[in-house]
Subunit: 550 residues, 2 copies
Amino acid sequence: MSTPTTFLPDGVNTCEERVAWARDRRDQSLAKVEPKLEGIPSELPQNSQGLAQVVLTPREIEITEKYSVTELLALLKGRKISVEEVTRAFLRRAALAQAATNCLTELLWDQAIARAKELDSLPEPKGMLFGLPISTKEHHGMVGPNVTTHASFVAWIGKPHGSNLLYDTLWEQGCVFYARTTQPQWIMQLETDSVVYGRTVHPSNNKLSPGGSSGGEGAMLGMRASILGVGGDIGGSIRCPAAHVGVYGFKPTLKRISVMGARAMMVGKETLVSTPGPMSVERDALELFMQAAVSTKPWLIDPSLTPLPWTPHQFSKPLKVAVMWWDGVVQPHPPMTRALKEVADACRKAGMEVVDWDAVPLDHAKGWEIITGLFFPDGGEEAIKRAEEVGEPILPLTRLVVHDQPNMKHLTQHELWDLCRRRDEYRVEYARAWREATAADGREIDVILCPPNFGAATPHNQSRYWGYTSHWNVLDWPGAVFPVTHVSIEKDPIDTSYVPKNEEDKFVYEMYKPEVFVDMPVSLQVVARRNEDEKVLAALKLIEQAMGRP
Amino acid sequence: MSTPTTFLPDGVNTCEERVAWARDRRDQSLAKVEPKLEGIPSELPQNSQGLAQVVLTPREIEITEKYSVTELLALLKGRKISVEEVTRAFLRRAALAQAATNCLTELLWDQAIARAKELDSLPEPKGMLFGLPISTKEHHGMVGPNVTTHASFVAWIGKPHGSNLLYDTLWEQGCVFYARTTQPQWIMQLETDSVVYGRTVHPSNNKLSPGGSSGGEGAMLGMRASILGVGGDIGGSIRCPAAHVGVYGFKPTLKRISVMGARAMMVGKETLVSTPGPMSVERDALELFMQAAVSTKPWLIDPSLTPLPWTPHQFSKPLKVAVMWWDGVVQPHPPMTRALKEVADACRKAGMEVVDWDAVPLDHAKGWEIITGLFFPDGGEEAIKRAEEVGEPILPLTRLVVHDQPNMKHLTQHELWDLCRRRDEYRVEYARAWREATAADGREIDVILCPPNFGAATPHNQSRYWGYTSHWNVLDWPGAVFPVTHVSIEKDPIDTSYVPKNEEDKFVYEMYKPEVFVDMPVSLQVVARRNEDEKVLAALKLIEQAMGRP
């Protein structure tokens, strides 16, 4: 039996018809929830974090809130709890998250429960992720039959699309896929707004964004409707939403994890690509995810991968941390700077060496100029054509990336090669700066500690500057984000003496008002050189231990 | 003091003037040779291999012929012989090779002797390559001041150009650079003919080609004017000349060795790139070279490199060798098939498992179609413009690659992405075939044994089909060539029953006449999957041992 070219029924053609079909499909998947969700107020509160107490059972709350990934896996593997019970709890909480934040494209009710029953029926638990519910970003695809994946292109709504190498690996390791999550139009915003589903909002404040592009994941994790999810990152799309909702997120070096099988535009473009990576409520789950992802030697199937087994890093000396207080382009908001100070102090107190990372001479603006040229080296032609085919309107933040960036244009091949040459030279320069910083005092820096964004979760449509995350995509350096504190009206007043250095800096400066951001999670980022992925996660652990965490 | 933009004097502008300047510069470098070469006949013999006995001293012959790389290094490090004496011997033999084969762009007489004296003056020998003369392909560049590098572009003659990361590393390891070698026009032929210097010929038969593009290296090694040289390979340019002159050559996986600093066209193009690699009279010197090249962790300087230390491979079982008798496109000449049989028999006798690698269902023609599109995705525009600037004529074999390939055209970005997508899918297909071949009998193949070319060294201008080497560039699989036998009129008659399968096959079939190729070295190739570089060299050793070699 051959696969159809579309799942759309006859008569579904226009943008509106396609969107209605997609939303209906999502709604039908949610209608499966049993027992139905009850107690959701008709007018949602600004902060949805209290809803679980009203809507879910105490047992569901226990399952979804009490355990870390590691703890839940131990219970599952020890058969102390059934996969089905865990799965049902996360399914219902995911449906609640959808109601509160608009974070789902599809709830995999039947599929997840069937999978859970299958795992429960095994004589022995097997796999590193046995029974663990994992939420996933829609455009990656999904295991199983009758999968449709649109990557937030209206033109691709209803298009059949199968699994991908990463999900096959996680599946082999025994996980349960139960929810597919939203991403913005063309997956190219640091927020999550699409023509297909509209806007995904922050679970703690619906006037703010959970970030993007893995913003559906962000909202799910922020509401603990997921404890381990898969995002993807080409300019910050894992780290930004993880930071905004106050969970952990990790963007590995490219080619550690395969993108083989995912649905994407501009397939074959090599100048800059995205990588999947984990988002989790638990730090150690980032490493578990990476171990699982490379456990099957995926490079034997996808030969573009780097054949590096996951090898946990051990430091032989106290950590040397370089703090990047700002990137020389846009000054972070006061809570970010406070968080940096707090963590730097904790590191110093724990006996680490803490130095400054001076980004100014390294010209991060050049990195931003390069990457904004590399995102759409065809000036967005392919994406725009696909939108025009079905009359999909271009949303404001998409327009910003595709149309309003002066460096985003349709390049000739020679112009593009020249831009890649500049990118490569920039990478070499940055590597040199690292080595020279080492030479100054004879001891190598281990990691850079920096903000993952200019501020905490932003009001909608304000995420214009990506430099704090995208810089590490230009360099292809791995980066992990972790929660540090929350925005405080008392501790984080406006710095009234600050004079913005440029237009973007002014925009960001004027955005900050403590009362807008109050109580939002404030996260930081740890980065190291290309392929030092294990080092990033090992350093993150030491830094958190310095902060008094386990 | 700033570097000038050109070393060309006023009045040197036209193609002819530039070429004359380059040849004069080469000749001046050769004029330094002391004592002068005497005894070279005014009319060169067809086979130059007897000239050394006439022209060189017994001591020079001993130094250049008696020792392997390993043995010579032991003598040098043991201070049993001075670096200067070794250097002078190779310098004079290189000058002889130039007289016989036209293989040099520059003899580094003064620089090499100064370097030798410096090394001799050290209290202790240091470096993995202490005192070893290494010959180098011109376009890579060179250490030292006043270096000019043209990469066989007339327009670049006289252009200042410095060193490169690989040569800096070899230099750190104590080598002596003494000769820079020829490459064909635009470095894109499997022979070596350029407007700048004309044709490089085979040292054993000047009616044949030493191959290309590292054909100057081939000629040098074939005459033992070098025992370790550096070539570069994007479609066979290391393996073809090494095979044609009967020495060892190794094309590593991309990104094991840096190309940073080399002079090249289309900088920033990522679709397909070249890699430097070793050519040597000694098998074990290939591994020594690789160890030296990665010894300094060059990935900390060139972050595009894969951070894999060189880790010699150990087999735990007898080797499993898959023999590819032909590629399904062009039938190899009879001596190549005989060599395959001989080596396969030897492997079997040594207890290895020998199976067939059936290339026909793997459609190597598709690989050839993809790579010929990727060589010049701008249809050669950049190169042609650079030639037209100075009136450089396009030579027949260059024309073949740039103009006469149906797949070589100026692609749009979207067409190029699509071609890269096809390339990636082809790589995945090939990897799948490997895994499935494994599954058939439950044991994994270790390496493929195959011809490195359709035949031995070809008559000039006949190297049209590159598939036997370029296929492994499409896949980015490492490959090593090694000498097996020589063409024999008795053993290698024409297969008169063969019916060519296509036009290219017919061209190649009709080329073969035993008397044209007689006594030419016949080499084979060992390949393994991407990044299995160490495995290739370990398997080569076992295969040679099976052949009764040390």
